[in-house]
């Protein structure tokens, strides 16, 4: 089969794929209105008809795998079912058609929705305040660090230039700290997969502004000493931030706000099922206690006597972190989702997420042992090291071979501290049959690795392409389509 064409390789000059609204005002030449020297040549966009447009994207979708196609057990990503009712509520004209700067009296429903979501998320995470302004998890981290910075600054505590981050942390943590002007110090993990308290106490000092901690951590393990950790940081004068990417293990069961954290972010696009959409948009809602509340971003959706408004009278705020009010239509989806569970059902999310992950860990235990042998939370981190030792087959190969078995691969090589890491997060919405299918496939591949290692290393065989040459991609960059040059004539 030949290459699937780019949209630029389709169509013909003069074609158009949409019926542009016809204006009915006088048809003055545009150059008269904006001056000829400001007028451009039309941008070289595609020229295809409407049917071709539909076909192009339909066929590209058929070359893409989503949760709707099968299990998607990417660890740290919480690829759970994205309920379709959420798409319906988010498409309501009364939400989709509202302008962000129209008068507040005409947007009471939208602001109220934000207030209700703030209240619910604050309650779930154990905080007293929340804001939906950050567009994603990393933005939420960064915002919390800014609030911490403002807090120290206001107290005149200006020598604090360091943020502590566990060595198992997600890359956004150190990157957010850096973007907030902090330098980063890494904290080691102990033999049980928890933060090493000795290492922590060595790193703590008067230069520490705070610590970022994921809990459950990125090894899928609950930080058993969380009380000590937050106490130690506080004693050293630092603040504690919880990376809430793993909140799916805790909803309705336990609350970071109760554990000594000063603030946290939630990934609504993970725990609260707003779809990932191929990489976004997300919503990195943040929560905090009263001590950090003055520094939250402005404006803040607020209720007073049944009236809803966007409070911009926040003198100590770090300021604005989004053009408007955050990824609002994602907030609509998240509220729809969380109300489908309510206080009566929400704990089931965590309960069955944890059950599923432990079931995977148990089923794979002998072939892919857990990095730390204890009950995991919503995801398990296993190692392919024994298999590699025995057969030379790496977890990357295992992942690629999984594609041929009709499953999306797990996360590999994260966290960085585990050799041949396989991070599997089934989520609570996968049924037993799908999880068994995944486990059966992984065990079958381990067998194949013994008998036909080269075959496994050549996988996948059934996808629309084979393994990609990523080195060439980075070396000879081709990042956009360019009009083919006509051959020169001499």
């Amino acid at each position: 089969m030949s290459d699937f064409p780019l949209i630029f390789e389709k169509g013909r000059a003069g074609r158009i794929g949409a019926m542009i609204p016809r204006t009915d005002v006088p048809d003055s030449p545009i150059a008269d209105l904006i001056a000829a020297e400001n007028v451009r040549e039309p941008a070289a966009l595609p020229e295809v008809d409407e049917l071709e447009t539909i076909r192009h994207f339909t066929n590209l979708s058929r070359r893409t795998y989503g949760i709707d196609v099968g299990i998607y057990p990417l660890g740290s990503c919480t690829m759970k079912y994205n309920p379709r009712i959420n798409e319906k509520t988010a498409a309501l004209p009364g939400f989709a058609g509202v302008h962000p700067m129209q008068p507040e009296e005409t947007a009471q429903g939208a602001i109220r929705l934000l207030v209700e979501l703030q209240n619910i998320m604050a309650e779930i995470s154990g905080f007293s305040h929340a804001s939906a302004q950050p567009s994603a998890g990393a933005a939420g981290e960064h915002l919390c660090l800014m609030m911490i910075k403002a807090y120290h600054t206001e107290r005149g505590d200006i020598g604090r230039t360091v943020i502590l981050v566990p060595d198992s942390a997600h890359g956004t943590n150190p990157a957010s700290a850096a973007r907030c002007g902090y330098s980063v110090r890494s904290v080691a993990t102990d033999a049980h997969g928890n933060t090493d308290l000795n290492a922590l106490s060595e790193q703590l000092g008067p230069d520490v502004a705070g610590m970022m901690l994921t809990n459950p951590n990125t090894l899928g393990l609950f930080e058993r000493n969380i009380r000590q950790i937050t106490d130690m940081v506080h004693k050293a004068g630092g603040m504690t931030f919880c990376d809430g990417a793993n909140m799916n293990a805790l909803v309705g069961i336990a609350r970071p706000g109760d554990m000594g954290f000063d603030c946290m972010h939630l990934n609504l696009h993970k725990t609260f099922s707003t779809p990932h959409g191929g990489g976004g948009p997300g919503c990195g809602m943040i929560g905090c206690h009263d001590n950090l509340a003055p520094y939250m971003p402005t404006p803040l959706a607020t209720e007073k006597d049944g009236h809803y408004f966007l409070n911009a009278d926040r003198p100590k705020s770090v300021g604005r972190v989004h053009s408007f009010h955050g990824n609002f239509l994602l907030a609509v989806r998240a509220l729809t989702y969380v109300l489908a569970y309510g206080h009566d059902l929400l704990p089931d999310v965590a309960r069955y997420a944890v059950l599923n992950a432990n079931y995977v860990q148990a089923r794979l235990h002998d072939v892919f042992p857990p990095a730390f042998d204890r009950y995991c939370m919503h995801e398990c981190v296993l190692t392919g090291e024994p298999l590699k030792q025995k057969t030379g087959v790496r977890v990357l190969d295992v992942s690629k071979r999984l594609i041929d078995y009709g499953c999306h691969p797990m996360t590999n090589y994260f966290p960085l501290i585990v050799h041949e890491a396989m991070m599997i997060e089934p989520t609570e919405t996968e049924n037993k049959e799908w999880i068994d299918r995944l486990c059966d496939a992984l065990l079958a591949i381990a067998k194949e690795a013994e008998t036909e290692p080269e075959m496994v290393k050549g996988a996948p065989y059934t996808a629309v392409v084979r393994r990609m040459d990523e080195a060439t991609a980075a070396r000879s960059l081709n990042l956009r389509w360019k009009q083919p040059q006509p051959a020169s004539c001499d």
Partner: protein, 439 residues
């Protein structure tokens, strides 16, 4: 139930395999002091029908663009969205996939990103686009940080002709990241000594087509980067910043096929000239081949990114606005070369017609009569703009943005926008209403 599929039997079988006697056992690592001993204080669950009813009741509390005739722009626009956009976005494979870390299973999505990058470059006249940023505001902030990294300077100079919200965001981010943020008047010749960059909006917040060439030259003369924030629809007709030598062009992509949505999701567009390619923040997709020599797409230049470079990454961004970028890709495909121009011209024609109608009303005039504008303009009224706006709202007209909140001394000024979907009849009705109110 919610969306949890497990039956009693499933649970029993799975616990048996695990060797645990209850799900509670699995939570044993959580100290009991932290285990909630009460139900959360949130509402009771609703069934699907109830959810739709409840969310519908909230939506009904808003006035939306179906009920109001919208002349409000200011960074969020009421444009035509082809039905094909919704068709593509509703494809479950797109909607429910993750960032394409496994290229073999995401060739379709990766290709759309490559196409997106190509189209955005074409629109801005630039060399390289990334796969998206959160919104125009954070894209502008990222651009400032790029300039800081590229020039090793700390001073960020921004024109007040930039959307006030964007400036607030840039100010916040600069403060946190240790950059010095300074503003200059919207029509000022900026003094850029020692500046890392000059940020401006083109056309600016007032719709005015500023001299991007002159500002770019000024920036370059001072060794600073020229950074423009530009509406992509305006670029259908206007010379793109790339042609004026601007180093980084960012913008808000909502007008390309996404609804206003009370301001989100947005779509941060981010493009640079070739020489900055390895400094670009966020994800970038490139073409390569598979082991059989077949063309394929992968995320590339990964070593700039936080998951590899951690605190040394060019940015902390991870999740971006992929699906909104997809909407923009479908939009740009559907309207295409001819259509983007038509949309752009439609906006400009409508806005000029409206400006003409309104300025024929006694007592009303353009605030900047000597400037060329695209499809927004500042109208000076005989009374405070907010009051007039409120009266027109009663007639179902969203008249524009009163500028007093955002610019001192502009009490009677209203920022008015007309896009391509406004009809002559709607604009005439607006003029009529305004005539009555300002009489």
């Amino acid at each position: 139930m919610g969306y949890v599929p497990h039956t009693e039997q499933d649970r029993a079988e799975m616990l048996a395999t695990i060797g645990a006697d209850s799900i509670e056992t699995l939570f044993q690592d959580i100290p009991s002091e932290f285990q909630l001993d009460r139900p959360l204080n949130i509402p009771h669950s609703l069934d699907e029908y109830g959810l739709y009813r409840y969310l519908g009741s909230l939506a009904a509390l808003n006035e939306d663009s179906g009920k109001l005739t919208c002349f409000l722009g200011a960074g969020s626009y009421d444009h035509y969205i082809p039905a094909s956009v919704g068709t593509a976005l509703s494809r479950g494979e797109f909607l429910t996939s993750y960032t394409p870390y496994q290229p073999e299973l995401s060739q379709g999505y990766l290709q759309t990103i490559y196409e997106f990058q190509s189209m955005i470059c074409a629109i801005y006249g630039m060399d390289v686009a990334n796969a998206s940023m959160y919104d125009a505001a954070t894209a502008l902030a990222e651009a400032a940080f790029l300039a800081h990294a590229a020039t090793d300077r700390k001073k960020v100079v921004a024109s007040k002709g930039i959307h006030p919200h964007y400036r607030q965001v840039v100010r916040t981010m600069c403060w946190a990241g240790g950059l010095d943020y300074v503003e200059v008047g919207p029509d000022e010749a900026p003094s850029l000594d020692g500046a890392a960059c000059f940020l401006f909006q083109y056309p600016d917040f007032f719709g005015i087509i500023r001299d991007a060439r002159a500002w770019t030259k000024a920036a370059h003369d001072a060794g600073a980067l020229a950074i423009s924030c530009s509406d992509p629809i305006a670029m259908g007709a206007l010379k793109p910043p790339g042609e004026y030598g601007v180093d980084i062009v960012v913008g808000e992509g909502q007008p390309l096929g996404s609804p206003m949505g009370f301001g989100g999701p947005c779509l941060g567009l981010f493009t640079v000239k070739e020489k900055f390619v390895r400094r670009i923040p966020g994800r970038v997709v490139g073409i390569t081949k598979d082991m059989d020599g077949k063309r394929g797409f992968v995320m590339t230049l990964r070593t700039r990114e936080q998951d590899i470079r951690r605190e040394k990454a060019t940015s902390n961004i991870c999740t971006n606005q992929a699906l909104i970028a997809l909407a923009a890709t479908v939009y740009m495909t559907a309207v295409g070369k001819t259509g983007l121009r038509q949309v752009s011209e439609g906006c400009i024609r409508n806005a000029h017609y409206l400006a003409d109608r309104l300025t024929h009303i006694p007592g009303l005039r353009l605030k900047y009569p000597d400037e060329k504008f695209a499809f927004e303009f500042v109208l000076e009224l005989p009374k405070p703009a907010a009051a007039i706006r409120d009266v027109l709202m009663q007639k179902g007209i969203l008249a524009g943005l009163p500028l007093d909140e955002h610019y001192s001394g502009m009490d009677n000024c209203l920022l008015v926008c007309a896009t391509e979907v406004r009809t002559k009849e709607e604009m005439d009705r607006y003029a009529e209403a305004l005539r009555e109110v300002s009489a």
